[in-house]
Symmetry: C2
Subunit: 283 residues, 2 copies
Amino acid sequence: MLGKLAAVAAAAYGAPSRDHVVAAPGTQILLPLVAALVQPGRAAVLGPTYAEHIRVAALVGHDAQEVTDVAALKHADLAIVVNPNNPDGRTVGANVLLAIADELRSRGGLLVVDEAFMDVGPAGGSLGGDVARGNIVVLRSFGKFFGLAGLRLGFALAAPEIVSRIDAMLGPWAVAGPAIAIGEIVLADATWVRAMRAQLDQEARRLDELLTNAGLEIVGGTSLFRLVRTRAASELFHHLGRAGIFVRRFSEQRTWLRFGLPNGEDAWARLRESLADAAVCRD
Amino acid sequence: MLGKLAAVAAAAYGAPSRDHVVAAPGTQILLPLVAALVQPGRAAVLGPTYAEHIRVAALVGHDAQEVTDVAALKHADLAIVVNPNNPDGRTVGANVLLAIADELRSRGGLLVVDEAFMDVGPAGGSLGGDVARGNIVVLRSFGKFFGLAGLRLGFALAAPEIVSRIDAMLGPWAVAGPAIAIGEIVLADATWVRAMRAQLDQEARRLDELLTNAGLEIVGGTSLFRLVRTRAASELFHHLGRAGIFVRRFSEQRTWLRFGLPNGEDAWARLRESLADAAVCRD
């Protein structure tokens, strides 16, 4: 039942074949399975990034640490990179990642690349086509780009031996029928994907303009979210929250706020008005 | 987001509180997490039964064996019972299971009761109300009873410490939005549940009549499926398959066939006609 979905996903994500793809009910549930592919050892997560990677690596027994230098990943047993990164949008070049994978391979190490936002990442940035090398697992998220996060559909791209191991843990019927049906249709629709990417780019530029006009400094992001830096982050978080606008804040980076794309003209208007009010408050 | 669903499921399945419930995208994906709650040791699965339990127990490192005597479960580190059982419908009394759980507890052992078919099981048969004892995990499947297996929604009922451990492995967003929404509505609807159970009972009796009239011996089942024994199991499997009717056969019990309830009058007619043809063939 998942064979066709795997084939469509392999084509969409550039994996060598359907045998290099395993579907799951979201990528989150894959994190402990992937982290457990290597014996407990040293896990390095390129940060700051999505906090679940370090939590889960520790949960399955690794000595999990955040590193800020890409080169430090080489010394790990399990190296994890979110690429493009959440929340700052930083990208690491495919050639850099492949070199790290080569070094890790010589010591039995594994490179995990979480490409949850690669749908809006740089062309040629994905390692999906390189997973046959054997010690690379690429995670792809269906829902974020397609506006269907609640559907729970994600994929691991990896060598067939790894795919089989993950598959054995997920067991039969891992993915819901509606997710299979929708995934097969949407992933096969390259025209839709291109149109979606163009639309998101346009909306991200619109958001940048709105945020910049409100006096906020944009320091990163992808076209699915923008990261701003402001000394008034905490006040702005609460101000927006009172208007029903939820932005992400970061306990480790107290001047950061991450803005998602507003959904619909009402939401755009609400954000514009709320930011204007905030500007008045600061004057 | 899953708090309300957990509360509704606790009430529906008789668990002490929402803290004794964790929701998952189907129970299958819970099997390795539950089997890994005890250190690798001896796993005993009351059989013959659903083959995934023994496969998964072995996968996570247990010496997994099938036992046919309930009393043999007492000597395991991990004891697994499907109750009512699939495919034969055998049930083990709650008092018997609780006594086994008590013996296991004294040695740090865990009892897992897969109640995937308890929605159509005997009144008072569930251990959902007993999970606070600490070494009992009850698995409940939403989809089978409600005809929504493809939705992927299942639950583990257990002591809060175990619920937290499973929750940590599943991570946030384990369950799809549609499954949460449908689960909250349907599980809260006791009238619907009673009506569904009565309808399934009626349909099971109708299926019994059809199978008996075709000269098949019914040896077990629940009102979601019936198990028949026939020396012509293999021929009948292929004969029905050619008519587009899929029944389950069993490599270890070659005279068994499991019939699901036909879905709709067309399916009932097709089964009746195909069984009649088979009877003609045998004359």
